[in-house]
Symmetry: C2
Subunit: 153 residues, 2 copies
Amino acid sequence: MYHDIVIGRREEMGSHTFTADEIIAFATKYDPQPFHLSEEAGRRSHFGALVASGWHTGGYWMRMRVEHSRRIAAERAAKGLPPQWNGPSAGFKNLKWPKPVLAGDTVTYFTEVTGKRPLASRPDTGIIYSLNTGVNQNGDLVFSFEGTVFVPM
Amino acid sequence: MYHDIVIGRREEMGSHTFTADEIIAFATKYDPQPFHLSEEAGRRSHFGALVASGWHTGGYWMRMRVEHSRRIAAERAAKGLPPQWNGPSAGFKNLKWPKPVLAGDTVTYFTEVTGKRPLASRPDTGIIYSLNTGVNQNGDLVFSFEGTVFVPM
């Protein structure tokens, strides 16, 4: 619900280590560029290493988001609370991959509430803004976007 | 090269039919929400059907982009021309999934050049703006984002 959402709240959703095998498996199906397909081609590329497709990094953000929501729902259920409503996404802004994700890198995903406002056109609905990020084991930002979801008032 | 890029040029990159099996396989790994995981849960959801993860629709955009670039490179090679330089992405804006992609839907992906300008900070580089879309067999927009890439002047 809208009134439960605290601006500034930042949650760690989970971490994932991107292995060479899964980077190659994802890229074979969805992003068959040489630097995503073999260690050798990665070394010869401007990345200097096998790197994960940006869509792969994004796919894991989604998985972490789903698992995180499930953990919260289970915690709420244990307290006798109803599940938190996860509204439909109104789209993403400024999706960026500031640094590559190399084979063996561990990415930790975060979501932070950056703002909220009632929706003028629908008095029963509010809009929540968030900054969603992925950070590697060295503390480098490797993934980010600004999200918007609708929630009931 | 910057001077070869024609504003307003729209290219059809290719089409893909999203089968139930592959929607479920992708979602099992990257987006395990019920309406992506079984026909029955899809029917019970607000979508009323099994629908593809938005990251799956995006992943196929990337694959179509790679295959399209390869076809262009082969055509240029056949004419004795060097490959076109595909610059690094500067990020995506306004990524949207305006309608769901249902099992059995065929999505056709397009890319259109919407603008270009020289980069003030680097005289050897220009920036190209594009609108990238996916349209289903009924002509409905199901995927879109605004892209930005760097190209040599």
